[in-house]
Symmetry: C2
Subunit: 262 residues, 2 copies
């Protein structure tokens, strides 16, 4: 059984009291799916049931419809890839081109950017921002107060760009990534520098959102929800302060706690 959670040393702040504790974090890992010897896609996932995930991904995408079509399913030795071989290989490449090639103008594919696609830039420089635990709690409250669509429907994520005092840009979207991309686009439009700002999120902090922040040299990410192991490791090496589970008067600081003053 692969390891699905991992203990990380974190700082917990509760009612102003800071303590160092071990905390279980969900493991996030890449899984590459090969189809008939061709690399098809790399998913970021919880690393169990990998053969099921590969088959289900192909089934969902209409690339196979029953197990009868499958000649073999093989896991790589390192466990990071699953190779699926189909009995009937005719037209597959053509199908793939038709389905996934963005530049063909067919308008059929949706592409998200992979965490693995990003070569992380240099670490975020020191300085930039220094914030108190109280300010973090207050920004999270502001995020929740601003969340009009969420209040009406319960169906969206929200994200905000803030300085230590207040929210500067607020966005909501059904997609976590869209909400962050809206923030990024709007800060471009308004010419707002990001190196001294906070990204405030309602949703989970996966590696992809972390890498978006790193590219923009954002020094501080805070969220009501959980990070993953991969996002913690990236934040560690990129000098980003990652704060999760900001709720009521408590929070977990996963990396670089020095930016959070008592």
């Amino acid at each position: 059984m692969p390891q699905l959670t991992m203990k990380k040393e974190i700082n917990v702040i509760r009612d102003g009291e800071r303590s160092a504790v071990g905390d279980e974090v969900v493991v996030e890992a890449p899984l590459t799916i090969y189809l008939n010897g061709q690399e098809l896609v790399t998913l970021l996932c919880t690393p169990d049931k990998k053969e099921s995930l590969a088959l289900g991904f192909l089934r969902s995408g209409g690339l196979l419809s029953s197990l009868d079509e499958v000649a073999g399913v093989r896991m790589s030795e390192d466990g990071n890839a699953v190779e699926v071989t189909l009995k009937n290989k005719s037209n597959l490449v053509e199908q793939l081109y038709g389905k996934y090639t963005i530049t063909s103008g067919g308008g059929k594919g949706v592409v998200f950017f992979s965490a693995l696609d990003v070569v992380p830039g240099p670490p975020v420089p020191e300085g930039g921002i220094s914030i108190t635990a109280e300010e973090i709690c207050s920004l999270m409250s502001s995020l929740q107060e601003s969340a009009a669509i969420f209040k009406a429907t319960g169906g969206v994520h929200s994200a905000a760009l803030a300085d230590t005092r207040k929210i500067i840009i607020f966005c909501e979207d059904i997609g976590r990534h869209n909400a962050v991309d809206k923030i990024i686009g709007q800060s471009l439009l308004q010419g707002i520098p990001l190196h001294d700002k906070v990204l405030v999120c309602s949703g989970r902090l996966g590696s992809e959102i972390l890498l978006k922040a790193a590219k923009l040299q954002l020094p501080l990410l805070i969220s009501r929800a959980a990070p993953t192991t991969l996002s913690i490791e990236l934040a560690e090496s990129l000098n980003i302060t990652l704060v999760g589970f900001v709720r009521d008067r408590r929070m977990n600081i996963y990396t670089h706690p020095h930016r959070v003053k008592k």
Copy 2:
């Protein structure tokens, strides 16, 4: 200002009492981004701040780094597309091929399947399943009891395939889609028919998950969380019963309530 929520007529069951009420649902809409006249991607999103979303998506993906590089941003008349033109067009096609073409073997892209990529099949046939409100609540409790990684970390979604009585397959993943794809793959591996089963989800029911279920002819989807307008409309036309916000002893039935017996 585009409409971001929409009133839908739904059935609410609370402590066994059923009533018809109007409920606000979040709007989900496609937005196609064109870059230098070429169709790049279609995102499903909350339809506001579309220019920001387009620019942020390009910025996140490394296709532009400052507003100085942008010659123009234009919204289509119907509001369903944003066209971004860059000043420097050199190498762009090559970059795009390098970045997004899956079959190039570069292994750099992550592709998700688009709701818009799916031609919905025939509606799910009648029959299949009939369930009581109590059984729905009990399945949701089982899902939460099974959620071991969630309990440890708070960082994952869970999904299950069930009959009216019990969970048959249970999966957890950091990605909502992955959790459902694991279910689909495992049901393929075990040869479990789906036309008389329930898909139980912890996360939101967006159109993409709905279309996955439709392809498999699953008649009933239940979730602790919210659906979107697009998923309700698809469920309506595909004869799928969509039940959301299953919490404590209440739930919202959005479509085809006849499969839920008193």
